[in-house]
């Protein structure tokens, strides 16, 4: 694939904002799966991307358990050879309900090619991940 899914030579960018609410994680999964499918990923990789996006959203929701009014952002950058995904949210400093068993992050690391968990500043948290087209 030498062009983006839309046929242009530029990277297509798709952004999605969702309330920090468990009810909408399935919307993030559906979007991820649809984008990965359009880019030409195989079925196994589509499932991996879908699960990784879901786990990242779940992780951020757990970090914000007291703050259901806020939003989190998902940005998909459709590159020629890979999909780059940024998922970010405000971090609730009073929230203690984190990924206590570490399963979610462990799963993202196993499912994606590259994963980076960063805190750009004290009040926000971001997960960046890549999946290569094979």
């Amino acid at each position: 694939m030498t062009k983006s899914a839309s046929g242009s030579n530029n990277d297509d960018i798709i952004e999605l904002g969702l309330p920090v609410n468990p009810a909408y994680v399935s919307a993030a999964r559906l979007t991820a799966s649809s984008i990965a499918n359009r880019m030409g990923f195989n079925i196994e990789d589509i499932e991996d991307i879908k699960a990784a996006v879901s786990e990242a959203c779940t992780y951020l929701i757990k970090q914000n358990s007291q703050n259901r009014q806020s939003m989190f952002q998902i940005k998909f950058i459709l590159k020629n050879k890979f999909l780059e995904i940024f998922i970010s949210a405000k971090k609730d400093p009073s929230s203690t309900d984190s990924d206590e068993d570490g399963l979610g992050i462990l799963m993202i690391e196993a499912l994606m090619d590259d994963v980076d968990l960063t805190t750009p500043d004290d009040t926000s948290i971001q997960i960046i991940m890549h999946k290569k087209l094979r």
Partner: protein, 109 residues
């Protein structure tokens, strides 16, 4: 997306036969735990879960299953899962929970 749980107690084998359909994630994983806990309160037996129609399970769903398994182990019972879809079998494998639960007939090769 939600999930559906059907359960049938097998008198002769003394086992719960359960099917789970749909998707389990952070939205409904605590409900899964509640439903399974209610079953083991009724009959303290092994749980046999058919996952033929389980499309997706996330880390919180796995957490619910582990929590129920801990209670089942207290009376020396077990939880077995069968007919896992490849993507579901994969999450058990990468979390190594395939060594904790009895996994039968997974088509994940």
């Amino acid at each position: 997306m939600d999930f559906k749980l059907n359960s049938l107690y097998d008198n002769t084998k003394n086992i719960w036969n359960i099917t789970i359909e749909g998707e389990i994630d952070i939205y409904n994983s605590s409900l899964l735990k509640e439903k399974l806990n209610a079953l083991i309160q009724e009959h303290k037996t092994d749980l046999h879960i058919n996952c033929d129609k389980l499309e997706y399970i996330d880390s919180t769903g796995l957490g619910s299953l582990v929590s129920v398994l801990k209670k089942v182990k207290q009376y020396n019972g077990n939880i077995s899962l069968c007919q896992l879809k490849p993507n579901v079998a994969k999450v058990f494998k990468i979390t190594e929970l395939n060594k904790v639960f009895v996994i039968e007939g997974a088509n994940n090769d």
